[in-house]
């Protein structure tokens, strides 16, 4: 078999330190390759998350108040707590590398275990937060939430939402010219309130509950709405809870996509740690050969860095509006 032949063929004139792969000349070359390779991988990761950050940037710059509203509803204590957890785990990871470099097996094992525990804690907290949001009915699109209807004043409901009509969302949103009328802030046309006494907004994808438009009102009052917001939140010159809610939903889409991807990386990281733990336990790493520990460390720290940005962007960006969470 080919691979077998490679190995036997090679050994005859080389001293083979443990862990040296056949294609390399020496440990130095191997370590260098591993570290460049890992960094290239991290660059790849930066761009991967970068796509999401771009999406965030675009929508946040359009709808800052909706984002602030959504963000304020997240629990800052859980978020901050998790940040601390991750930073501590980064420390233990760094220590694990340190002990690997200095060849201390037991300390290394302990550090890895600690890192894993902290990582799991992080995921646990995330799970709690997700569950929380789920029970509050603000996980967009799950469709599994209680279908509690949101009642709004008839005159702010945009007129075209027919009770119980699942198409009404599309109907209004594709009815482009009429919304443009709204843009001008003129009063609606004669027909739009025909027969709607009680408007009930039913999201065809399950309910995403959101009634609080106070931030949009605040911004309207103090006049710092963006152009997009001036169009995007209003129906007939008044703040439309439903339209505002749709923008908050975008925040939550992005929140769940970003934190979900981050959590996925944590899970992969935990798998990596488990493997490291097993290797470290069986004494595979020495002061000469520890690059797997180092490389996993790089990965772990990177995931930490992503969170360092996610935390302020998702949890903190609207706190100063004083509209507070719940």
């Amino acid at each position: 078999m080919a691979t077998h032949a490679i190995d036997t063929h090679d050994t005859h004139d080389h001293y083979h330190p443990p862990g040296l792969q056949h294609q390399f000349e020496d440990m130095g070359q191997q370590q260098e390759s591993a570290s460049i390779g890992m960094w290239m991988f991290l660059v790849q990761e930066i761009m991967f998350f970068g796509g999401m950050f771009t999406v965030y940037l675009v929508f946040r710059s359009k709808f800052p108040m909706a984002f602030a509203a959504g963000s304020n509803h997240l629990n800052v204590y859980w978020g901050a707590g998790n940040t601390v957890v991750l930073i501590v785990s980064s420390l233990t990871m760094a220590l694990a590398v340190h002990y690997a470099q200095t060849g201390k097996r037991m300390a290394q094992v302990v550090c890895i275990i600690l890192t894993m525990i902290l990582g799991a804690t992080f995921l646990g907290v995330k799970a709690i937060e997700y569950a929380d949001k789920y029970h509050e009915g603000i996980v967009p699109v799950t469709g599994l939430n209680l279908r509690t209807a949101l009642h709004t004043e008839p005159n702010t409901a945009g007129g075209s939402h027919v009770p119980g009509d699942p198409d009404s969302l599309e109907k209004s949103s594709l009815d482009a010219p009429s919304s443009a009328e709204n843009q001008r802030g003129t009063s609606g046309s004669a027909s739009n309130s025909a027969g709607h006494v009680e408007d009930e907004y039913v999201n065809p994808n399950g309910n995403f509950l959101w009634t609080d438009t106070s931030l949009a009102e605040l911004a309207q009052k103090e006049d710092y709405l963006t152009t997009a917001e001036k169009v995007g939140y209003f129906s007939n010159g008044q703040i439309d809870a439903n339209k505002f809610r749709d923008k908050v939903r975008i925040f939550y889409y992005i929140y769940f996509m970003m934190t979900g991807l981050h959590a996925l990386h944590m899970i992969i990281g935990l798998g990596l740690m488990a493997w490291l733990l097993w290797k470290a336990w069986s004494g595979a790493f020495t002061a000469d050969y520890f690059s797997p520990v180092e490389m996993s460390g790089l990965y772990w720290h990177f995931v930490d860095i992503v969170w360092i940005f996610l935390f302020p962007l998702l949890y903190l960006l609207g706190r100063h509006f004083g509209a507070g969470g719940h």
Binding site: A5, S33, E45, F48, L169, I250, M257
Partner: protein
């Protein structure tokens, strides 16, 4: 240790084992970590995808023979061109040269035993296979009809074809591409043999280094974009669909952030091959080595700044359009530099017109036309009229088929003896090269005219007054098809009945020609020490021309 410069490769080097006869079991292939075997596995699969893409192309051309959509239903036609584009781009052209020739040659060219991460290399192949199989499965189930560009909101809300499955296939395949790029970069940094400085590397390696940069920096973005698209389809997440608050132009930004650089993934390796061919078949050092090397990097870097030229009429702001148009012009300059240097290399050469060189010269002409028509499109005012017409179709086939595919064929012929240890028939080679050239022009040149007349692309039926040129195009495609089927036959034929290849059939100085054909598993018995520049034909370089002439080594 034996000094590499003493190797006289004109002789047959009898090697008891080479990478091909080193194990015959299926397992010895499927679990191999040998970059050469992985390259061969890519060769097989990529060829299959090419044939499938080609069959779709043939179907397109047949349908377009008549103005009505009579051969295919409109629905089917939409799927056919989409799948043609997807298979050709993601599963054929992007992996073609890098994963086959790059994989096989980069370690050899820089004097290494293997890539830096052989296992990851194998993983890349498996990811490619999984992605490919998933896509094929989806095509079997019913296919996609979104166009290869997957524009939202059609792809996210309106199409009821297998967008998710194909998207997932491309997603997985993307990681294959990323890992290949990663492997090449690390290999170039750490695996070079003693004496193989950066500026002694063959330009083929430089081109792949640049390509790899694009792969690593660009591909993740398409991955996340497809993920978002899938999320939007699955759960109606409103990122791209305006009906629920999203922004369809954002999709285009994200898509082209990758897909424009990706067109350079699709040409840079070809440019690398052409640099090798032009220089070696002129038996002369390449003109302006450093300029060609750096222009590859420049293309890779600036290629990231121009994606908006696909969006001049999309509703992007005029200001953004101006910036992107300007940068598009800037990025054409490095290509121009390459073009001129290649031409200059021919000057005072000793030019050999073997099959690979025919392809190389064909490349120069076709890429020239393709690239220049790129300038038409990059010029905003003109693009307004030309975008989404057959002019664009003709442009990108000129650069992709006339460029990369031709380069790929040239490369395959050039290194065929090295890869397989067999010589193909030069007569058939030349014949097919010429057929391809003629057929290609006949197929795609009329499309420029069609495009300027205003024939929109992705049309299953078209106005009758446009039929004449379409008939030309279809006729050309038939010639092209014949020209492309021929290599499949004579190359396969050569595997069994071909003459055994000498180590260095053309007496060339590259490292790959200093080892046996096919190479031994370990590439080099001992690590070579490089003391010569790239394309060094001087006599001090250990190539004993007198000896070769005396022995009259016959190349073809």
């Amino acid at each position: 240790m034996q000094n590499a410069s003493a190797i006289n490769s004109a002789e047959y080097i009898e090697k008891p084992t080479n990478y091909l006869n080193n194990g015959y079991t299926i397992k010895s292939w499927l679990l191999t970590k040998d970059h050469k075997r992985i390259a061969i596995m890519y060769l097989i699969v990529v060829s299959i995808f090419f044939m499938m893409g080609g069959l779709y192309a043939a179907t397109i051309r047949l349908e377009l023979l008549t103005p009505q959509s009579d051969l295919l239903q409109t629905q089917t036609y939409n799927k056919v061109f989409t799948q043609h584009g997807i298979l050709m781009i993601f599963f054929f052209l992007i992996p073609s040269i890098p994963a086959i020739l790059g994989n096989f040659l980069i370690p050899i060219m820089i004097g290494a035993k293997d890539l830096a991460f052989p296992r990851i290399n194998l993983l890349s192949w498996y990811l490619y296979m999984i992605g490919g199989m998933l896509t094929l499965w989806a095509l079997m189930q019913g296919g996609v009809d979104t166009g290869w560009t997957f524009y939202a909101p059609y792809s996210t809300q309106f199409s009821n074809s297998y967008v998710m499955a194909v998207g997932l296939g491309i997603f997985i395949n993307g990681f294959s591409s990323i890992l290949t790029g990663l492997n090449f970069i690390v290999t170039c940094h750490t695996m070079r043999a003693p004496g193989m400085t950066w500026f002694r590397m063959p330009l083929f390696v430089w081109a792949h280094y640049a390509t790899s940069l694009v792969m690593i920096l660009g591909t993740p973005v398409i991955a996340i974009t497809i993920l978002l698209l899938a999320a939007e389809r699955l759960a109606r997440i409103g990122i791209f669909d305006p009906a629920i608050g999203g922004d369809p132009i954002l999709f285009q930004h994200l898509f082209w952030f990758y897909s424009h650089p990706a067109v350079y993934i699709m040409i840079l390796p070809g440019m690398g091959v052409i640099s090798e061919l032009i220089s070696n078949f002129s038996r002369k050092k390449i003109f302006g080595y450093e300029f060609i090397a750096f222009s590859s990097i420049a293309i890779a870097v600036f290629g990231f700044l121009v994606w908006g030229h696909h969006m001049f009429v999309s509703g992007q702001s005029i200001y953004a359009g101006l910036v992107f148009s300007f940068l598009t012009m800037v990025v054409a300059v490095p290509s121009a530099i390459k073009m001129f240097n290649w031409t200059a290399t021919l000057y005072k050469g000793s030019i050999l017109f073997d099959t690979p060189m025919l392809y190389a010269l064909g490349f120069l002409g076709l890429f020239l036309i393709g690239g220049l028509t790129g300038l038409f499109l990059g010029s905003m005012g003109l693009d307004v009229h030309l975008t989404d017409t057959y002019f664009v179709v003709a442009h990108f086939h000129y650069v992709m088929v006339g460029g990369q595919v031709i380069a790929y064929l040239g490369g395959i012929h050039y290194w065929w003896s090295k890869m397989t240890g067999k010589m193909y028939s030069e007569f058939w080679g030349k014949l097919s090269a010429m057929l391809v050239f003629v057929g290609f022009n006949l197929t795609f040149f009329p499309q420029f005219i069609l495009g300027y007349q205003g024939m929109p692309r992705r049309y299953a039926s078209y106005p009758e007054e446009l039929q004449v040129l379409n008939i030309f195009s279809t006729a050309g495609a038939s010639v092209l098809g014949v020209g492309l089927v021929m290599p499949v036959i004579y190359l396969t034929h050569s595997l069994i009945w071909g003459k055994d290849a000498p180590a260095n059939p053309w007496m060339l100085p590259g490292l790959e020609w200093r080892i046996a054909s096919p190479p031994p598993t370990e590439n080099f018995e001992t690590t070579p020490i490089v003391t010569w520049e790239a394309y060094d034909f001087s006599d001090e370089n250990g190539l004993d021309m007198e000896e070769a002439r005396r022995k009259n080594i016959v190349t073809v």
